[in-house]
Amino acid sequence: MKTVDTLKKLQRVFREVFDDSSIKLTEKTTAKDVDGWDSLMHITLIAEVEDAFGVKFSMKEVTGMKNIGEMVQLIEKKAK
């Protein structure tokens, strides 16, 4: 999957999880940029992203992701 497609699919997951169709993701997006992305939502979000892409993040990855770009990279690495 190309990065742009991964990003698109990820954006769909985000919109679904946050129930907000105005969310736009770029590789630079961080938790600060999305309304309601707190530690609680992070758990829900990770579970949904894992489901949607059929991947599993490690504990270190879940706590260490800095922005959407890193999430996309991890997904692409794991989905291979």
Partner: protein, 577 residues
């Protein structure tokens, strides 16, 4: 269990549940409970329930329960779920000195019982508690269960002690999540990293299942549960088509796929023994449909296991309506089992209140599938349940007598009815509590009581209690009505009056009304006040009090004066116990 997702449940929180019946629900846990709270509220919405939720902060069980002024007690919940997770239990275990480990479960159960008692000392509230999920730490191998100081041994023991405790406290029920974990697989049930990071003992997909069990338990206690299983015949109760394959050709028992159908029938029979009514709904000639029940030696179910039998060529929705009328139950208390997706869809569309089970394609999977659905949760069980079907069948014989006699009074006389009217006692307590939970139609105030509450009321000087039994020449109806009277100075207030619908129009209403008035006179009261609280299901008793000779005094309240009340004529003879 409805098919849904955690996200769907989360979205439900934004929807308007204000028209739904309210449950004040409190959640206390020694782990992270926010996601569970969300799933429970969202699942409640799916089933048309409005859960107002109090969620304590992380690991605040003791803090909330030890302080009688806490937010928990201030919230006045009607149900509390206490979630203690095995992970935390294990932490306490490993901190226990080796010499004390073989008595670990006894100390833990004391602490848990203490929690229950704190709740009960403060408020009237149902308590739900998750059984501890099994955990073998792999330290002892096959030696584990002969070593009392092993964790797995202590955990198994603790769960047994919990089961015993729940039997002792009338208001505690245990929810076992292990079947859900077995179904999803341990890795799907718990995401280890989420426990490590966020102390979440269940994954979001497991939470949906856990929430469904919790909401089922709450609904059962509020009288919203299933009472009847309506089953198709061909390819549901046996393999093949009786009309085509004949008695020798259908698969049941040793023939073909027969064992799978035998197992399904055994499950239904167990339901029947537990008090669920069974009914047949099949497209068949009636005589053909009856034949296997009468003649096939390997059938588990027989005709007298069924309370209703609808085999004809009409559509199934119409037949289910007939079954409903015959058994006098609500559509929402019916579960429908059919292998045919067309029939399922028809019933789903025409009768959306009926719970329609999508049986798996392979009959081999029927029984495992239906066992997982938790379709028949209950908050009570009594000897009455074991004979429910027999009572219904006796009732059918009565209606036949009714048809053969023109004059209704003659019919009532011919029934030779005898009733007992007596104060609540320990023996009848479970049955009385159950009747308060089951009765929806003939129920003037629809207050639900637990065993413990009934026991308390029967001890209290504030109340006068009576239960009523009725029998006639066709059989014993058992305990069919409950009255709770509250002393209010010169007035006697009818705090509860409910009756089983199957004894309607026998003069039992008049008999009970007279009994209330006789009590009031004996005890020196001047007046009796009754009240009707309307629900979607109890229109039947809207005019009960005026029909009995009470006078309406507004606000759905009714008055009878002891001196002027006129006793009725009935054909019921009072018996002493």
């Amino acid at each position: 269990m409805r098919e849904t997702t955690y996200l769907q449940l989360k979205k439900n929180l934004k929807k308007d549940a204000s028209g739904f019946p309210i449950t004040r629900f409190a959640l206390l846990g020694d782990c992270a409970t926010q996601h569970l709270a969300c799933a429970i509220r969202g699942y409640a919405y799916e089933l048309g329930e409005n859960f107002e939720m109090f969620e304590a902060d992380y690991d605040q069980i003791d803090a909330q329960l030890m302080d009688s002024e806490s937010e928990f007690f201030g919230f006045r919940p009607d149900t509390v779920l206490i979630q203690m997770c095995t992970e935390k239990l294990y932490e306490r275990f490993v901190r226990t000195q080796l010499s004390d480990r073989s008595t670990f479960a006894e100390r833990e159960i004391l602490a848990i019982r203490n929690c229950f008692e704190r709740v009960n000392a403060g408020i009237k509230c149902d308590i739900l508690f998750f059984l501890f999920l099994p955990l073998d730490d792999g330290v002892f191998g096959a030696y584990t269960y002969r070593e009392k100081s092993s964790f797995a041994y202590q955990l198994m023991k603790l769960n047994m002690l919990l089961a015993d405790a729940s039997g002792e406290y009338g208001n505690v029920r245990l929810i076992d999540l292990e079947p859900i974990r077995a179904k999803l697989g341990a890795d799907q049930f718990k995401d280890a990293k989420m426990y490590a990071i966020a102390k979440m003992p269940m994954s979001t997909s497991a939470l949906v299942w856990a929430a469904s069990r919790v909401v089922d338990a709450v609904r059962a206690r509020k009288g919203r549960f299933h009472k009847c299983a309506v089953v198709d015949l061909d390819n549901t109760l046996w393999g093949g088509v009786i009309g085509d394959d004949g008695l020798e050709g259908i698969e049941i028992g040793e023939l073909g796929q027969g064992h799978a159908f035998t197992d399904f029938q055994i499950w239904l029979k167990e339901l029947k023994n537990r008090g669920i009514m069974l009914a047949v709904c099949s497209k068949n000639n009636e005589a053909t449909a009856r034949e296997p029940f009468e003649k096939h030696p390997e059938m588990v179910l027989r005709l007298d296991d069924f309370s209703a039998f609808a085999a004809n060529w009409e559509d199934k929705a119409s037949n289910i309506l007939k079954i409903r009328d015959e058994l006098n139950i609500g559509l929402d208390s019916i579960v429908f089992f059919d292998d045919n997706p067309f029939e399922r869809n028809l019933v789903k569309t025409m009768l959306p209140e009926v719970e329609v089970v999508s049986l798996p394609e392979d009959p081999a999977n029927y029984v495992d599938y239906v066992r997982m659905l938790n379709l028949f949760d209950t908050a009570s069980y009594s000897e009455e349940d074991q004979v429910r079907t027999e009572r219904y069948l006796a009732e059918k014989n009565r209606s036949r007598l009714n048809e053969s006699i023109d004059n209704y009074d003659d019919y009532l006389k011919a029934l030779e009815m005898k009733a007992v009217c007596a104060p609540f006692d320990a023996f009848h307590t479970p049955r009385i509590a159950q009747l308060t939970q089951r009765s929806n139609q003939f129920n003037v105030r629809t207050v639900r009581y637990t065993d413990a509450e009934i026991a308390e009321i029967s001890q209290s000087d504030k109340y006068i209690t009576r239960y009523f039994t009725l029998k006639d020449k066709f059989g014993d109806h058992g305990l069919i009505a409950v009255v709770i009277l509250e002393r209010r100075g010169e007035e006697l207030f009818v705090a509860e009056w409910l009756m089983s619908c199957r004894v309607l129009k026998r003069g039992m209403e008049q008999f009970i009304s007279d009994a209330i008035m006789k009590i009031a006179r004996q005890e020196g009261f001047l007046r009796v006040i009754g009240e009707y609280i309307e629900t979607p299901k109890n229109a039947m008793v809207k005019n009960l009090y005026t029909d009995m000779g009470f006078e309406s005094i507004g606000d759905n309240r009714f008055l009878a004066v002891c001196e002027t009340y006129k006793l009725h004529n009935t054909y019921i003879r009072e018996e002493s116990i």
